[in-house]
């Protein structure tokens, strides 16, 4: 079983990447100027030396750096991300409580973008015309407009002007529409550009002519033959973007006042809540490693030429 071995190697490599990310984060934080005790107790309060020593012992900060590092790595390896200085909750539970919201937003945005890009390239690849020009202009506009600005525009018109969707987050699907639209417009632009280019190229290939000589309809040719060739870049872009959205929807979450990873990241950084920052760094690294492995598996699924084990 070649594929299983291949997968095992990829997972090992992924683990190495995570270890490197954790070590780097640990090293950077050793140089970080803030005093954890002050963070834990608040900057204003004065702490007695006894209490300070107790807290430091509690968090293991009295140990030599190497021992701290060893404990840190052991902890991480067991999936324990530690305890927040400020919230006195485990970092895992903080991320867990916020991830759902971010995950919903990112998945819906990527799904919507992928669906739109599929449709756009199916309709316009290999065909000059008004629709193609209109879509190309829209794509160019979307990739060159900052997400913040798109969000504000959507809010201005759809919430304030026409009051179709709520301004701030509440429960229910209605509050999701505008943030999802904001993000998916941005993703759609680059995705659609690349997918159409790939499909344009595929439609020029001799195998498309062969398919036409079999009597296939134009739609069947696009659907059965050309589309598959646009999938590789679609997988690359959508998995990468998905990872990016999980980690970095800060702007969108702020504009629409949504809970999520972006918000807690921002809070943790401003409050010097080191364990939470570390936890998020590691979580994001994990997500990217996992998505990369997933993308590799999907490539093989789509393109038989990439299956190394094949004869």
């Amino acid at each position: 079983m070649h594929i299983a071995r291949e997968l095992f190697i990829r997972i090992l490599a992924g683990a190495a990447v995570l270890w490197a990310a954790a070590s780097l984060a640990f090293a950077v934080l050793q140089l970080f100027p803030s005093d954890p005790v002050q963070v834990i107790y608040g900057a204003d309060s004065s702490v007695t030396p006894e209490l300070r020593a107790a807290i430091r012992a509690d968090f293991g900060l009295d140990q030599p750096v190497l021992v701290q590092y060893q404990r840190f790595v052991t902890r991480i390896a067991q999936g324990d991300l530690g305890i927040s200085y400020q919230q006195r909750r485990t970092v895992a539970s903080i991320i867990g409580s916020e991830i759902g919201s971010t995950l919903t937003l990112a998945s819906l945005a990527v799904l919507a973008a992928v669906a739109m890009a599929f449709l756009a390239s199916l309709l316009t690849a290999g065909r000059p015309g008004l629709l193609r020009r209109a879509l190309s202009s829209f794509e160019l506009l979307s990739v060159s407009t900052p997400v913040l600005w798109v969000g504000i525009l959507l809010l201005t018109f759809f919430s304030f002007q026409w009051q179709l969707f709520p301004v701030v987050a509440d429960a229910g699907w209605r509050s999701l529409v505008l943030p999802v639209a904001t993000l998916s417009i941005a993703v759609f632009g680059s995705l659609s550009q690349v997918m159409r280019e790939e499909m344009d190229r595929a439609l020029e290939q001799p195998f498309i002519l062969t398919a036409r000589t079999r009597g296939l309809s134009e739609w069947a040719i696009r659907w059965k033959h050309a589309l598959g060739h646009a999938l590789i870049p679609a997988i690359t872009i959508s998995t990468e973007t998905f990872g990016g959205l999980l980690a970095g929807s800060i702007v969108t979450e702020q504009v629409f006042g949504r809970p999520g990873l972006g918000r807690i990241t921002l809070e943790a950084i401003t409050n010097h809540d080191i364990p939470v920052v570390m936890g998020i760094v590691l979580f994001v690294a994990f997500v990217f490693v996992a998505l990369n492995i997933l993308a590799d598996l999907l490539y093989r699924l789509v393109d038989p030429r990439l299956r190394v084990s094949s004869r």
Binding site: P206, L209, R214, G215, P304
Partner: protein
């Protein structure tokens, strides 16, 4: 009644007339060959016959009938029911003409189910039957494989199977064997001959008169969209009327063209004898081994390239020719063995030591377009080489002009970019670039394989001239035995990584000792001698098989 009748077919694109009045007819069990060079309109004709000349093409004809159907009046959906069902179409290279993301089984099934409604189980069985009918072994296993997993011959057969899946009465094959080596080419031509014998009408499109010679009942020679000559193979080969046909026939390199110019625009006088040889070999390789995984790509190859000679290296694709060339050029290092340049260390030197010797041995490859930076002008391409050759900058222009003249180009070509040149001109630029380094040895890896036969003739003539003028030593690599026979003094036959035959060209071609070499030579498509036609006509028959779908109105 004829299967297909074409009367005064014209196809034009904005600004050009690709086909200017073509008339012919094809009967069941008959093969009509359309022969011409690139730009002659032969492929456009093929595509127009299935309504796929393109959106910007204007197709007109006095009459264009397929059986009872008037092809000029078909709606798009009627066209779709003609394609694949009444007319099958086979393109050149199955590696790119079959969808690389689909199994060959699903490609063939697609052609089948498009026109015939069958239950799923029967589709699979029919596909298996089709695969075995085109001579693919182990069809049960092959059905789930992809084009890239099959050899060139097998995937071309699979492509043919997909074209005949719905049993069309007419099969159009556009350069069906051009990407194949001679042995496989002969097998595919046999397959087409079988189909013809079963009653399929065949339109065979090729740039190569020798390929169509054995199959065609009628040949149309096309140039710039105009028919220059038409007739039976016997007439065309024994008594060609048009100058162009004569030039085409003369341009085919073979045993009989040795020592003569191929291109007819120069007189075909015999050239002077090859120059005498020096004793020390220009390049010498001993027991070269190169592995790729467990496979031996180059297997204990020892060769000697003698100063002043042209050594031909012939072999099928995948035989290891190109890897051997890379080893000789020291672009790859051998796993075992070594290469000596003029008796001195070559493959064992470090790259920095080798760099000052590199000008002495230069490469001309098959696809110059791929070896040029598309943004460079010809002058930049040449200047780059001149700079590496250490020529002072003020001498570049004069030297570039000289090089251009050597390769039959002029100063006018210097400001052009590769894409603005024809294939032949690009290859001339590639040769000029190689010569700019003042090499002693030229390694030519399939230098004419991508060229039309008349352009090929010019480039071969050019190489021969330059060799004499500059005293070059040439290693000429080709899969084309005719070309090898024409250019080489000595020849090496390579098969599965090994040199299986070696000797003076006449001796090897007249009396091959190795079994593979004999198979190889037997498969060369030949233009038959006049006496062969009488025999050929006797054996020609037109029996019509029963499994061919009649064209419904």
């Amino acid at each position: 009644m004829s299967l297909l009748t074409v009367e005064d077919l014209k196809v034009s694109f904005p600004g050009t007339d690709a086909v200017r009045g073509l008339s012919f007819s094809v009967d069941a069990g008959q093969c009509v060959a359309i022969v011409g060079e690139s730009g002659s309109g032969k492929s456009v004709t093929a595509r127009a016959l299935v309504g796929l000349a393109g959106d910007n093409a204007a197709v007109t004809a006095k009459s264009l009938r397929l059986g009872e159907k008037d092809l000029l009046r078909l709606s798009p959906s009627q066209w779709r029911s003609v394609r694949g069902r009444d007319v099958g179409f086979v393109l050149q290279d199955a590696l790119v003409s079959l969808d690389p993301l689909k199994t060959i089984g699903s490609e063939i099934a697609e052609a089948l189910t498009q026109h015939v409604s069958l239950p799923h189980v029967q589709v699979r069985q029919k596909v298996i039957d089709l695969l075995s009918s085109v001579g693919i072994p182990d069809p049960q296993e092959r059905i789930g494989q992809f084009a890239h997993q099959l050899s060139g011959g097998l995937r071309q057969r699979a492509l043919i199977a997909s074209a005949i899946a719905a049993s069309p009465a007419l099969l159009i094959a556009d350069e069906p064997t051009t990407a194949l080596d001679v042995i496989v080419q002969a097998q595919v031509l046999d397959l087409l001959r079988d189909m013809k014998a079963k009653g399929t009408g065949l339109i065979l499109i090729s740039h190569d008169l020798a390929v169509v010679a054995s199959l065609a009942d009628h040949i149309i020679v096309l140039k710039d969209g105009v028919v220059v000559e038409t007739g039976t193979p016997e007439r065309i080969f024994t008594d060609p009327q048009a100058d162009y046909t004569r030039a085409l026939l003369a341009a085919i390199p073979s045993a009989s063209t040795r020592g003569k110019k191929l291109a007819l625009d120069t007189s075909s006088q015999a050239l002077s004898e090859p120059s005498p040889r020096a004793d020390k070999p220009a390049l010498e390789a001993t027991s070269l081994i190169k592995r790729l995984g467990k496979r031996l790509v180059v297997d204990r190859v020892s060769i000697e390239l003698r100063t002043g000679e042209t050594l031909g290296l012939v072999g099928a694709s995948g035989s290891g020719k190109t890897t051997l060339a890379r080893l000789l050029l020291a672009l790859q290092s051998p796993d075992e063995g070594e290469v000596l340049l003029k008796g001195a260390l070559w493959s064992r030197l470090t790259e920095s030591e080798r760099r000052r010797l590199r000008p002495r041995i230069q490469l001309v490859s098959q696809d110059p377009l791929g070896s040029f930076d598309p943004r460079y002008r010809v002058i930049d391409i040449i200047a780059e080489a001149l700079e590496l050759a250490g020529l002072p900058k003020n001498a570049w222009n004069a030297r570039a002009t000289e090089l251009m003249a050597w390769v039959g180009l002029s100063d006018q070509h210097l400001p052009r970019r590769p894409r603005q040149l024809s294939g032949g001109q690009r290859q001339r630029v590639a040769i000029a670039r190689a010569l700019a380094m003042e090499p002693e040895i030229l390694i030519c890896d399939e230098p004419v394989s991508a060229l039309d036969v008349s352009t090929q003739a010019q480039v071969l003539d050019l190489l021969d001239d330059l060799k004499k003028k500059l005293g070059l030593t040439i290693l000429f690599i080709s899969h084309d035995l005719g070309v090898i026979h024409h250019v080489s003094d000595r020849v090496l036959v390579m098969h599965a990584g090994r040199i299986v035959e070696e000797g003076p060209v006449e001796e090897v071609f007249a009396n091959p000792r190795d079994a593979y070499t004999r198979d190889l030579f037997a498969a060369i498509p030949r233009i038959p001698e006049a006496s062969a036609f009488r025999q050929h006509n006797l054996s020609r028959s037109n029996h019509v098989g029963s499994d061919i779908r009649p064209i419904s109105a």
